[in-house]
C-alpha cells in the first residue's frame, strides 16, 4: 500500500519504466493501481530502433509483474517523507 500511495503522488510526472525483458519506455505516469500496474501516456520507447514494435503506440498499460525498475526524476522523491512513511509502515507491520 505504501508504494501504491507513493506512485499515486507521482501521477503526472515523467518516468521511465524498465521491463524485465530490458525494454525501457519513457512516458507520463497516468495512473497506477493496487498491483502497481502502470498506465503511461505520451510513451516513447528508449532506443526506438531496437524495438520497432511500439512506433504507433502513444499510451500503454504495463502489468506490474513485468516491471524491473521505475526510473524517476531526481526531484521526484521527498526522501524524508518516504523514510518516515516506511518507518511507520514497518512499525505497524
Amino acid at each position: 500500500q505504501l508504494f501504491f500511495s507513493y506512485f499515486k503522488d507521482l501521477v503526472g510526472r515523467e518516468v521511465t519504466v524498465e521491463l524485465k525483458n530490458d525494454l525501457a519506455i519513457r512516458g507520463t505516469l497516468h495512473s497506477v493501481d493496487q498491483y502497481l500496474n502502470i498506465k503511461l501516456e505520451n510513451t516513447r520507447v528508449v532506443d526506438e530502433d531496437k524495438y520497432p514494435h511500439m512506433r504507433s503506440v502513444r499510451n500503454c498499460f504495463i502489468r506490474g509483474s513485468v516491471v524491473r525498475y521505475v526510473q524517476l526524476p531526481p526531484d521526484g522523491v521527498d526522501i524524508e517523507l518516504l523514510h518516515d512513511a516506511t518507518r511507520r509502515e514497518a512499525r505497524g507491520g
Partner: protein, 124 residues
C-alpha cells in the same frame, strides 16, 4: 455509466476499460506480439482480442498471421498499447514476407544465437 468494476471510479483510473473496442497491441512475456481489437478483460488482465494478428519480426522481415478471436491469459501479458492511426502501422524499411519465409528466418536466427552461445566451448 459502466458496469466494469473499478477501484477508483475517476478519470485517472488505471483500468483497461479506456482501451475497450480500440485497436491495441499486446506484448507477451515470451516476446510475441499480437494486434487486434480489444473486446474484454478482467482483474487478472485476461484479454479477449478480436481479429487477432500475430506480427512476427525477424531482422528486416515481418509477417502478420491472422488468428481470429483470441483469449489471452493475463499472466503472459507484459504490455498493452493503444495503437494510433494505421499509417505508422507497417514497420518502416521492413519487407512483408510469407509465413513460410518468416518461419525459415526465425529458425536461422535461433540457430545463429545457439551457435554463438556454444562458442565458449572452443570446438574446432
Amino acid at each position: 455509466m459502466s458496469n466494469w468494476p473499478n477501484s477508483d471510479d475517476n478519470l485517472f483510473s488505471s483500468s483497461l476499460a479506456s482501451y475497450l473496442d480500440r485497436k491495441i497491441l499486446i506484448l507477451l512475456r515470451d516476446g510475441r506480439e499480437f494486434l487486434g481489437t480489444f473486446r474484454s478483460f478482467d482483474q487478472y488482465a485476461n484479454i479477449v482480442l478480436e481479429g487477432t494478428l500475430e506480427r512476427i519480426m525477424v531482422g528486416n522481415l515481418f509477417c502478420d498471421i491472422p488468428l481470429g478471436l483470441y483469449i489471452i491469459r493475463g499472466e503472459n501479458v507484459m504490455l498493452i498499447g493503444e495503437r494510433e492511426s494505421d499509417e505508422k502501422e507497417l514497420p518502416p524499411h521492413m519487407t512483408c514476407v510469407s509465413v513460410a519465409e518468416i518461419r525459415k528466418a526465425q529458425k536461422e536466427e535461433l540457430k545463429g544465437s545457439t551457435t554463438r552461445k556454444m562458442d565458449f566451448l572452443d570446438f574446432d
